[in-house]
Structures are given as C-alpha cells and as structure tokens.
Amino acid sequence: MSEAALPPPRRHGRLVVRLLLLAAVFFGFGFALVPLYDTLCAAIGFNGKTLKDAIAAKDLPPSVVNYQRKLGVQFTSTLMPGLPWEIRPLEPAIEIHPGELRTTRFLVRNLSDQTIVGQAVPSVTPTVAARHFRKLDCFCFKQQTLAPGESREMALTFIVDGDIGDEISELTLAYAFFPAPKDPG
C-alpha cells in the first residue's frame, strides 16, 4: 500500500537517458544541417548558390540550343574588405540562347606590392535560376594567387539549361572576391 503507490526511483533513469539521447540527437542535427543546407541550397538554388564543382561537357543534360529564345546575362563583382585588388567583367552584359556554351572573362589586378591569394564566391539572381546555371570552367573553382601588380584575365565557361523557366528573361551572376582563408580546410 505504501511503497508501491510511489514510482520506484529507477524509473527516472530510463526516461533521463532517453531525454539525454534526444538532446544529443539534436546537437548532431545542428551539425547535420551544415551539409544538408549546402545540398538543399545547391539543389533548389536557395541563396543563389550554384554547383560548386565543374561539370564535364558529357555530363550536361542533352539540350539543343534554343535559338528562338534570348536570355540576358549580367556580370557584377564585389571586392570584400582586406583584398587590395581590382576586378571587373570584360563583358558586363551579354545575350545568350538557352543551351548555348559561352565563355566570358573577368579582369583581375593585384594593386598591392604583395602576393595575395583570393577566392571568388558566385551567386545567381534570381535565385531560382541558380540551378540552371551550369559552369564548365570557372576561376571560382579554386583559389587564385596574384603576384604584386599582376593582372590576369580569368575565364568562365558556362551553359544556361534549356529547361530554365519561361518567366526568366534576365539573370545576374555576381562574384564576391574574398581574401582566401589563411588555413584552407
């Protein structure tokens, strides 16, 4: 009558362990969000993220060039603080057809008297267009090292998918050039 009516203390143990596990799972979930977020962004084009790695020409989805349709593509570039460079697109705006392979160039110059490593980070607007913007070759795929006073033309080769939505007539590719992290990892 007396002791049995109260829950024996050990029942807490199992519940506590389960709740601690729940906390541990969500601690892991926070870290799992890192790759998950990247995958989601690249897949749906959240934040205008484009695919990080080059795709080979043979991996491109079969698409014929649609000469009926014209797309405006604008290029802009920003320098982040701490990078004494100059960067500008040689062609600020071009017109392309969906499915057409194009190469364009950016002029980059190191204004300082030191060798500096930079890293370009691309972003596409409108963001839904990002996953249709496929790069075969881009200077943003790796870090770029410029000697003091050196200037260089950097190339970008890309295709805009033929299946890009009809509502999009113009898209912008923006590069932000960062000083490269000291400790790439």
């Binding site: 009516a5 109260l6 807490h12 729940l22 906390a23 601690f27 977020y37 839904v128 960062f178």
Partner: protein
C-alpha cells in the same frame, strides 16, 4: 488507493541540515531551489534593466552624449542575453520548481541533486556574460559581446573576446536549462498523484511540459551553432565563411531554429499560469482546459517550423518566403484559442481585481498587441519595410515584457503568499501595476511609430525627426525601471512578515497546491494526495 504514504525522511527532524550559505549551496529541496532561481532572476532583471536604462539615456537626444557606439552595442546585446537567459528563463524555472511538485502532489522534484547543479551553473554563466565589461576597465580585451544577442556571423567571427565569453556562457546556460527540463519532464511524467491523468494535469504543468520538450530539442542546435562559431574563430574552420565554402546565412538558420521556439519557451509557462489566476479571481472553473492543452502542443510544434520569418529579408527564394509567412501566421490560430479561453473564463465571472488579476488582465490586453503586430511582421511584403526597425523592437517587447515579465509578475503576486505565508501589500502591488502598465506603454508605444517612420534598431544616434518619440520613450523607460523597485520592496516586505496568509490564500482557488499550508512544510507532500479531478 486513498492514503498512500511514504517515509521520506527516515531521520526525523533535520538536525544535521546545514544552515547559512551551506544550506543554499547544498540544498536539494525544490522550494529552496525555486527561491534561489526567483532571487537570481530578480537580481539579473535589475542588472539587465540598468544596462538598457543606460542605452535609453543615450537615446534621449540625438547625437552621442554618454558613451561610444562600441559600448552601446555591448549594452544592447548583453541586455538581451541577460534578460532572456538570466532573468526570464530562471524565473520560469523557479516557478516550475516551486509549483510543479505542489500541483501534482509530489514530495519533491524527480532529480533533486541535478536540480541543485542546474541552478548553481547559472551564476558562473552570468559572470561570464558580464565579466568582459570589467576586464575592459583593466585594459583586457575590448569589452563584452557587441554583436547583439543574435551573434550573427560574420560579425561575431570577427568580434573580440566578449564573443568567446558569450559562447561559453551560452554553453553553460544550455546545459543548465537542459538539466532543468529533464528534471521537470521526469517529475511530471513519473510523480503525479494517483488519479491525475496527463490531460487533467494543471495547465501550468502542461505549459512547462511543452516548454521542456522545446528546450531539449532546440538548445542543442544553438549549442552546436555557437560551437561552430567558436571553431570558426579559433580553429580554422569555415562554417560561416563564404570564402572557405561556408555560408553566413547558415548561422541565421541555426540561431533561429533555436531562437524562435525560445519565444514560446519564455511564454508557455506564463500561458500555463494565466488560467489558474483567471479562474481564481473570477471564481469559475477554467474554460476549455483540453483546448488549451492542445493549443500549447500545437504552438510548440508550429513554433519549431517557422524560424526563417526572423530573416525574411536575407534573400530566401519566393516559395520559402510564402511557406514561412503562412506557417507563421497559422500560429495565431492556436493562440486565438488561448485568448478565447482566457476571455471565456472571465465571462460572467464574479471578478475581483487583486494585484495578480490586474496583471493578468493587463497581460491579455497588451500581449494581444504583440500578437497583432506580429502578424504584420510575418507579412513578407510588409516586413521588407519593418525589418530591423524599431517596430520590431516594440513588437517583441510587447511580447516578452508584457507576455513574459508581466506574466511572471502575475505569478509572483499570485503565489507569493503561498511561498512566504504572508500577504504582500495590496496597495503597493496596485501602485506597481499601474506604474508598470502606464510607463511600459509610454516606453514602447512610441517605438512603433519610430519604426514605421523608418528608425533602424541598434543605432546609438539617429536623425533629428525621431527626437520627440525617443525622448518620450526614454522618460517612460526610467519610470518603468524605477517602478520595479516597488516590486522588489514589496517582495522583501512580504518575505519578512505581514498579514498571515491562509492555506487557500485566495477565495476562488482550486487545486492540490492550495491544500498545503502556507508556507508549505519542508517536504511538500509527506502523504501522497489523491487527485480529485
């Protein structure tokens, strides 16, 4: 099964119980720990309040008069962290410690030693948060965290040692809160009196049960996020560094995955205690007990999936914007159910307006303003204008001051006679209420207008056209701050003595907690009660 008894204290009288400071350091008694939580909370409420009064003093006039912008930034960020983590959350945990065992007929919390540890983690965390202010006086570091409480990357990656102190403080506070939550869940699930089903359990316990689950789910994500921040700052990782392949927006997702449920973590215990107060002072049973339970659960679940409405302007794609807008707005449905139940409880009741009831009615009116302005902010199109303006500041102070702090004051006045065995001064309580309500609106109502006129938050100086409303707001804030001294004095006076409180304290009370003496005996329920519900 009507008179189950349990020998809790085989040693009889507590002859060997430590006294003085050792009693408080080593106590495992839920009432002592509850008292420590409440006292700590009140103390930190004044610390956080003093910080923001300095901010309001600077904003009294345009231009920089009292402080440098860097110090201003530190004050606003630490004010928020102190108020949220060191004032509001401990107050809610204090209520839980004091009231949950009394309400469910348990002798103590399920895990008393963990309970003690959970509390004693708080003071070191509060010291970590505020220590950089002191260190800066001695030329060490550049002051406390200056990023605002949201710690957004990349600003927080570049910040001084104050950021590291804040990160470790958050880790410790997180551990403390998770331990507290585990304890509360274990107590509620395992130690209810015979006859009390989960559905019949008092609403305060229900509010806390949902809060505790939310804490266990979301705090680890914040802990993970600030850990990434720490490794980005010191160990060469690039979680939030775009040049290294990371993304600063990711931090906003991690932060608000915690940050939005945190709003409900702060509010659910208050929503839980409101029906008790309303039912007591209308002398009617609570209207819609089951509906309120399901509303708590619905708000808890919805609260987990709406976080991105805090950064609708960060460049989310349109489908995501629409999702977060509609899901956010849908939270107003269960919240409307709660409002309906509160009003229906009062409907045709024999109402009397003692201080707790005044605070409860004030809470309903003012918290309603928070809800309605929240709907405006959730609108993607409108938010583009209001985002990061004083409109947001006013909105969340209507939510967290009237919804959170005035709710806590409701509970303090309501339960203080039960805790101390004495009545507080009704005259001082009413004075405190009216000064608080009038000066709160004087402080924050002008901030809605400032926000609509385009004044951004988190700036130490502003354009001349904002001067009048800022002056009014500052005057209001000082009255608001000083009125709280009445609150502290009233509590102190009540602890020291005063008119004896009866066991039931108020005329219309119902529930197990009012069957115990005021103050309750050292071991709350030496004989396990049977719930009559």
């Amino acid at each position: 099964m009507n008179t189950a008894t349990h020998a809790l204290d085989p040693h009889g009288a507590h002859a060997a119980a430590p006294t003085g400071i050792l009693r408080w350091l080593t106590t495992t008694n839920h009432k002592d720990i509850g008292t420590m939580y409440m006292t700590f909370s009140l103390l930190m409420f004044f610390v956080g309040g003093a910080m923001i009064l300095a901010v309001r003093a600077e904003l009294f006039q345009p231009g920089l008069q009292l402080m440098k912008p860097e110090f201003f930034n530190q004050l606003i960020g630490v004010h928020a962290l102190v108020m949220i983590f060191a004032a509001l959350m401990p107050a809610a945990t204090g209520f839980a410690n004091w009231m949950i065992p009394l309400m469910i007929g348990a002798p103590d919390m399920a895990l008393p030693r963990l309970n003690n540890w959970g509390f004693w983690l708080l003071p070191p965390a509060a010291i970590l948060l505020t220590l950089p202010f002191v260190l800066a006086l001695f030329g060490i570091g550049d002051g406390a965290v200056a990023t605002g409480w949201t710690l957004y990357a990349p600003l927080s990656v570049q910040g001084g040692i104050g950021v590291d102190f804040a990160i470790f403080a958050i880790h410790i506070l997180g551990v403390s809160s998770i331990m507290g939550s585990i304890n509360i869940i274990a107590t509620i699930l395992n130690m209810r009196a015979p006859g009390m089903t989960l559905m019949q359990m008092p609403l305060f316990c229900w509010g806390w049960l949902v809060t505790a689950v939310l804490l266990i789910i979301t705090l680890p994500v914040l802990a993970g996020g600030v850990t990434m921040l720490l490794t980005d700052r010191h160990f060469g990782t690039h979680f939030f560094d775009a040049a290294g392949g990371g993304d600063p927006i990711l931090f906003q997702h991690l932060f608000w995955f915690f940050g939005h449920p945190e709003v409900y973590i702060l509010l659910l215990p208050v929503w839980g205690l409101m029906p008790h107060v309303l039912s007591t002072f209308t002398r009617k049973p609570t209207y819609g007990h089951t509906a309120q339970v399901w509303s708590f659960i619905a708000i808890g679940v919805l609260g987990l999936v709406v976080w991105a409405h805090h950064f609708l302007t960060a460049g989310l794609p349109v489908p995501a914007l629409l999702y977060f807008m509609y899901s956010t707005m849908s939270i107003s449905l269960p919240l409307a159910v709660l409002f309906f139940c509160w009003i229906a409880t009062m409907w045709r009741g024999a109402m009397s307006f003692e201080t707790p009831m005044l605070f409860a009615v004030g809470f309903i009116v003012l918290f309603g303003i928070a809800g309605l302005t929240g709907l405006v902010l959730a609108d993607v199109a409108a938010d583009a204008q209001y985002h990061h303006s004083y409109f947001v500041v006013a909105h969340f102070h209507y939510a967290l001051f009237t919804g959170g702090i005035m709710g806590v004051m409701t509970g303090v006045y309501y339960w203080l006679p039960k805790w101390t065995g004495h009545m507080y001064s009704e005259k001082l309580g009413k004075l405190h209420f009216w000064l608080t309500v009038v000066s709160f609106n004087l402080t924050f109502m002008p901030q809605f207008f400032l926000g609509l006129a385009g004044m951004p938050r988190r700036i130490p100086d502003y354009a001349l056209q904002f001067a009048e409303f800022n002056a009014i707001s500052t005057v209001g804030s000082f009255i608001l701050g000083l009125s709280q001294l009445i609150f502290a004095y009233n509590i102190w006076r009540c602890v020291k003595g005063g008119e004896k409180a009866s066991d039931a304290v108020w005329e219309g009370t119902s529930g197990l907690e009012w069957e115990l003496s005021s103050p309750p005996p050292h071991h709350s329920w030496e004989t396990q009660p049977v719930s009559k519900a």
